[in-house]
């Protein structure tokens, strides 16, 4: 068994919203009871549609948000409270890479200054030593030395994402959450950045959580994948098998919705309806209104994530067939 680095137990995140000026306060459960283990040196993918709670989960794993319920354990110890001194020192080991590099970078600082900032914040290096380390990081992510004095707007999208990655690596983190890191990039550039992330992971034995809605990229880079639907994990498994043999009806629809070159629209499972609103969660299995296999029981009972025929799935139908087979 591989060593556990990070563990989430029963994570729940809830936001309070009010409808209109005098409206009644309602609460939205963005993440609704997630158990997750991240092993050392693995890349875990989290996929799902917008509003499924992927990013919120990622932020809770880093301790950027305090969970409403449940806890995150880092090497067996609960994460310290956000913004406390203990949390700040731990943050050097845990980094986040965002989707939009232009928003994540300061427009008025040169990229060398931005990459070097973590050295100052965490008191790791200064002066000439910091400069040398910045140059080393830039080389590692494939930026040219002459680009050090450039500002973010002078770089292309792919280069900016390299800057964000270099900055995340500055404090030699052990764990990185990548939230849609390549979604804003063209496919040719996307491949460059995905390869870079893979190389960095292998070189420094990084552990990563890779959040994306792009299943093809997730399949390529991740060892294991968790599929989320409306704040819950509905299926989890190694990426080699989860896309070739999806079990949960939602995963099946997701996999089938990927357009494949050279095939028409005919083979695709086209889901009816919209991704549901977390503020109006259906009863029972949250997926049942869009599910072709759902029956009355699905509207009543919330399925839990459990091992059904060798795969972690949360579906009453899969459990029923598993029991019959046994």
């Amino acid at each position: 068994m591989t060593a556990l680095l990070l563990e989430a137990r029963g994570l729940v995140q809830q936001y309070d919203t009010s409808r209109g000026l005098f409206g009644r306060a309602t609460s939205v459960r963005a993440v609704d009871g997630v158990d997750l283990q991240v092993n050392r040196g693995e890349i875990l993918g989290i996929v799902g549609e917008s509003g499924s709670g992927k990013s919120t989960l990622g932020r809770m794993l880093l301790g950027l948000e305090r969970p409403h319920d449940g806890q995150v354990l880092w090497q067996g110890q609960p994460l310290p409270a956000p913004y406390s001194a203990a949390w700040r020192s731990l943050r050097a080991q845990m980094q986040l890479i965002f989707q939009d590099p232009l928003a994540a970078l300061d427009r008025r600082m040169t990229i060398a200054d931005q990459i070097g900032e973590p050295f100052i914040i965490h008191g790791l290096a200064k002066g000439a030593e910091a400069m040398a380390k910045v140059a080393g990081l830039m080389a590692r992510v494939g930026l040219r030395p002459d680009q050090a004095g450039r500002y973010p707007h002078e770089l292309s999208g792919g280069q900016r994402q390299r800057v964000v990655i270099a900055r995340a690596l500055a404090s030699s983190p052990r764990f990185i959450v990548c939230d849609e890191p390549v979604s804003a990039l063209d496919v040719s550039i996307q491949a460059q950045v995905v390869n870079l992330l893979r190389d960095l992971q292998e070189q420094s034995d990084l552990t990563m959580v890779f959040i994306s809605h792009d299943l093809k990229v997730v399949r390529n880079i991740c060892d294991r994948v968790a599929v989320m639907y409306l704040g819950r994990i509905v299926e989890e498994g190694p990426s080699d098998v989860i896309f070739s043999d999806p079990r949960h009806p939602y995963t099946q629809a997701l996999v089938s919705s990927i357009p494949k070159a050279g095939t028409g629209l005919s083979h695709r499972v086209i889901l009816q309806g919209e991704p549901p609103n977390p503020a109006a969660r259906p009863t029972g299995c949250a997926f049942h209104p869009r599910c072709g296999a759902a029956d009355r029981a699905c509207a009543l009972e919330v399925p839990v994530l459990e091992l059904n025929r060798g795969r972690l799935t949360a579906c009453l139908k899969l459990r029923a067939t598993g029991a019959q087979a046994a």
Binding site: E49, S50, S156, G158, Q159, D186, V187, S188, I189, Q190, A191, Q192, V194, N195, R198, H213, L215, K216, V217, R219, N220, S239, D240, F243, S244, A253, L254, V255, S256, S257, I258, P259, K260, A261, G262, T263, G264, L265, R268, I270, L271, E274, P275
Partner: protein
């Protein structure tokens, strides 16, 4: 005769040429895909054709719709075509809709403008259109505001507005890029269904090669303001000839097969202010030689049909789909 005929279309912004002579023919009812990285001129081609570029843009060449010239035509002439005969939908539906007007009113506005429908007739037609694009309980939701719809439904509303003028050609500029995977599939399905029912032609501008292959008859690949390859989707996707087209395909991760390293296209799209000499793709191309760096290849009819602008095309016997990703050296 083809319905739309674009010949030698050029566009320059502040003296920087971004389109270098686009030739394109679209037949009635045909679906053409336009692919390429961002900044290759896919959208500018159609914005220029419809006179939607800002005043500082210098547009040259010819765009004819049923023989009628659009470039240099008077504003009233262009406006008779725009929205009525050629409609366009964009990537981000929520920023294309007016947030302070009810969606029904926005659809009815197009109906009044293009078909002279007013009052109850316009309302009934707007409800029919919303029904057609698959918005449930259209009769009641016609009075809702854009923020009360999800992203996928906003895109459906945009499609309904585009269909209001009963256009002969729909230009869909990245219509599914901002949407979730399962909703992308719905919108692509809807577009091909509408095309089958109405017989309108369609141009799908997309960087998603899978989407283009799923709904288009023919596809053109653009690079740095030029069409570098064009062919039937079946031929183009089974055996791409231009190294750029091939590179685009190779960069896409596979959903089955092995999970080796991806094959990116090295470098980036050139800055239009500093285009390389010769073939614009040469600096990123594996098979470029001195000729590629000095002369720009002209598009020529290929042996197996289609157009190709390359001195050293990929051998067409190489089947694309069966090649593994990380070909051992």
């Amino acid at each position: 005769m083809s319905f739309i005929s674009i010949q030698g279309l050029t566009v320059a912004f502040d003296g920087t040429q971004v389109l270098h002579g686009i030739d394109l023919e679209i037949g009635r009812g045909e679906a053409l895909g336009l692919v390429g990285e961002s900044g290759c001129g896919k959208s500018v081609t159609w914005l220029a054709a419809l006179g939607l570029l800002p005043g500082k843009a210098r547009v040259g060449g010819s765009v004819k719709i049923d023989g009628e010239e659009l470039i240099g035509a008077s504003r009233t002439q262009v406006e008779r075509v725009r929205g009525k005969r050629i409609a366009m939908i964009f990537q981000d539906p929520s920023s294309s809709l007016n947030p302070v007007h009810r969606v029904g009113r926005q659809i009815m506005e197009s109906l009044t403008l293009h078909r002279g429908l007013k009052g109850q007739a316009a309302k009934a037609e707007a409800i029919r259109l919303m029904d057609l694009v698959g918005i449930p309980s259209a009769a009641t939701r016609i009075d809702l505001y854009p923020h009360e719809f999800s992203g996928g439904q906003c895109q459906r509303v945009m499609i309904a507005m585009a269909l209001a003028g009963e256009p002969d050609l729909l230009i869909a500029d990245e219509p599914t890029t901002a949407l979730d995977a399962t909703i992308q599939a719905q919108i692509l399905d809807l577009l091909s269904q509408i095309r089958a029912e109405t017989g309108m032609a369609m141009v799908l501008i997309s960087h998603d090669l899978g989407a283009v292959s799923a709904v288009c008859d023919r596809a053109a690949v653009m690079y740095a303001g030029r069409i570098v390859e064009m062919n039937d989707t079946a031929a183009l996707f089974s055996a791409p000839r231009h190294p750029y087209t091939r590179g685009l395909f190779d960069a896409i991760p596979e959903i089955d097969g092995d999970r080796g390293r991806l094959k990116p296209i090295h470098g980036t799209v050139p800055d239009p202010r500093a285009l390389p000499q010769g073939c614009a793709f040469a600096p990123r191309c594996g098979s470029a030689d001195t000729r590629c760096h000095t002369r720009s290849p002209e598009p020529q009819a290929g042996r197996e049909g289609g157009l190709l602008a390359c001195f050293h095309p990929v051998a067409w016997a190489v089947p694309l789909m069966t090649s593994p990703q990380g070909i051992p050296a």
